[in-house]
């Protein structure tokens, strides 16, 4: 697994004999292109930010690209009061689901890389397949099963689903990470007649912090942003997580566009904050998700 996706850039010595002017032109083309794409990527963010600070009077689509004349929190506070219950639902969902699936992944990853049993590679593949299935293929029976066994409705159903279907990815990340722990450490613990749990607790776990961060961020982001499970499993609007509520609020044409924009931004703030603070780990998770060694 590529845990270090970001090798430091290698300075390339300038090639001898290449005309300076051409090199300068190539270099400025490069930076121009890079900046052009920065503008493209940030354009939706610009439009959202600008719109979200406009008052209702100013929220006219014909001036959408202009900065607000009067900056106001109006749309933000409207969005907040409308979506607050759903933001809380998402919070109650994402915290336990992230914690539990991360711990499960750590235990599985440890066993499947460092405390193997006969057939553990086959078991890994067996679990891994769950990472790739389109969840549509389990959705109808899943709702049925929940109803049949009277599983508590609302957020508990959603949390349970995210924990179960999170097992493959969390196991994958931890398994790859633990494969980098030197075998001698594990062997030394075994020599001391330490059992499995003892080895995990005192040798492996203290080294696991980076993998916990990577996995927790991955799970947090995908559970917070999930729409598919939520829309199938949650029928009562009071239990909707933020994505479903956002889609419903903004899908209505009576919602003024400044409110739509501030709502979209409000729903994205938690994952954006995590990305800004811990982006490095976020990228590692992405790389693990690509399954590439």
């Amino acid at each position: 697994m590529t845990t270090t996706s970001a090798a430091p850039p290698v300075p390339v010595p300038a090639r001898v004999g290449r005309p300076r002017a051409r090199r300068a032109a190539a270099l400025s083309f490069k930076y121009l292109a890079l900046i052009f794409f920065v503008v493209l990527v940030l354009m939706p963010l610009y439009i959202v930010l600008v719109a979200s600070f406009k008052g209702t009077a100013e929220a006219d689509p014909s001036t959408a690209w202009a900065l607000p004349n009067v900056w106001t929190w109006e749309a933000w506070s409207d969005a907040w009061s409308q979506l607050r219950p759903n933001l809380l639902n998402s919070l109650y969902l994402v915290i336990p689901a992230t914690l539990i699936s991360t711990v499960l992944g750590s235990l599985n990853g440890f066993v499947l890389s460092r405390w193997r049993f006969p057939g553990s590679d086959v078991v890994f593949l067996f679990l891994l397949f769950g990472l790739f299935i389109p969840y549509q293929a389990v959705m109808i029976p899943l709702t049925q099963l929940f109803a049949d066994v009277d599983f508590p409705t609302g957020i508990p159903r959603l949390a349970f689903a995210h924990i179960v279907y999170g097992i493959p990815i969390t196991t994958l990340i931890f398994r790859s990470y633990y494969a980098t722990i030197p075998e001698e450490l594990i062997e030394a613990a075994r020599m001391d007649r330490a059992g499995m749990l003892r080895t995990y607790w005192s040798v492996v776990l203290p080294l696991s912090a980076p993998a916990f961060v990577v996995t927790a961020i991955w799970q947090f982001t995908s559970i917070w942003n999930d729409f598919l499970f939520a829309v199938f499993l949650i029928t009562n609007p009071d239990s909707w997580p933020i994505t479903v509520a956002l889609n419903n609020t903004t899908g209505s044409i009576v919602t003024p566009y400044n409110l739509q924009m501030s709502a979209a931004l409000l729903a994205s703030i938690p994952t954006l904050v995590v990305y800004i603070l811990l982006g490095r780990y976020f990228i590692r998770g992405l790389m693990a998700g690509s399954l590439k060694g």
Partner: protein
């Protein structure tokens, strides 16, 4: 300490996960297949055996919703894969040889990955508003202001190319990811190889063409699999932009409307099974290939 006493506890620790995945992945897939082969076509559940759901889907043409959905998916996938791969590889190429502020550029290009498809869809639906020229909003208005009015178009509501326009937000969202994959791929090529080619007098472009690019087949393969797999099941983005409209229908959205509006569970399950089979064709060979490669190292 050989034998079961050594490995038994490990198996025991993983067992709960094995059972959960066995039931909730494999078991439910089996159950879903059973539903797809039943005659459960309305709210009241029935259990007779029937292949009617599949015969309405194959060949495409008998069910207009499904036909549109498949056609849109083909256009969407084409635009999405080509656009994301090309832009991602291009950005990685620009960043490869050390650029001032590389960390900044990477962070910007990757930020859309942190945003949900729903939130992104809300904004892009508005940016891609189809009203033309000075009556327009979003991108059409911007084109008009920049004197590029001829570029204004109906975006995702165009009856022929709409599904390809639907791919624009998806390209926006995933280009950074593909860039990161390629960048890691470029950096994985040993510098000695590049240096050796330079010593032989190869130009920088030829170094890429003959030394770096041939090393990237595994990266391109991963990228294709990841993108194809996202594309086949595309759902949130389409719902956020087009809702349940016929003109933006994709297989996953059609399945959703079949279940929630038409209560046609057998057909919904049949579509889910088809999606699963499509994705399995992509993923199973890839999984086996990856595990083999892992064993060799």
């Amino acid at each position: 300490m050989k034998g079961i006493r050594r490995w038994g506890p490990g198996l025991l620790l993983v067992l709960p996960s094995i059972v959960l995945i066995a039931v909730f992945v494999y078991g439910l897939i089996g159950w879903n297949t059973k539903v797809s082969l039943s005659d459960w076509r309305q709210a009241q559940q029935t259990t007779g055996f029937s292949t009617a759901a599949y015969s309405e889907l194959f060949p495409p043409g008998t069910d207009p919703g499904w036909t549109e959905a498949v056609k849109h998916l083909v256009f969407f996938t084409g635009a999405f894969m080509i656009g994301t791969l090309a832009l991602g590889a291009f950005l990685a190429l620009l960043l490869d040889k050390g650029v001032k502020g590389e960390g900044f550029f990477r962070a910007i290009y990757l930020f859309p990955m942190a945003v949900s498809f729903i939130a992104a869809g809300v904004v892009w639906r508005w940016l891609m508003n189809p009203a033309p020229g000075d009556r327009g909003t979003g991108l059409n208005l911007l084109f008009d202001k920049l004197g590029l009015g001829f570029l204004a178009n109906e975006w995702y509501l165009n009856p022929t190319w709409g599904a390809a326009a639907l791919a624009i937000p998806a390209i926006w969202a995933l280009t950074g990811y593909i860039m990161a994959l390629y960048l890691a791929g470029f950096r994985g090529v040993p510098e000695e190889l590049r240096e050796a080619a330079r010593m032989d007098g190869a130009s920088e472009w030829r170094v890429y063409r003959h030394v770096v690019f041939p090393h990237l087949t595994p990266v391109t393969l991963s990228a294709l699999i990841i993108l194809g797999h996202i594309s086949i099941k595309v759902f949130d983005l389409v719902v956020a932009i087009g809702g349940k409209q016929f003109i933006t229908m994709t297989p996953a959205v059609y399945m959703w409307t079949l279940i929630f509006d038409a209560r046609d569970y057998a057909k919904g399950a049949a579509i889910a099974t088809i999606l699963l089979i499509g994705i399995s064709f992509l993923v199973i060979p890839y999984m086996i290939y990856t595990v083999r490669a892992e064993r060799q190292t």
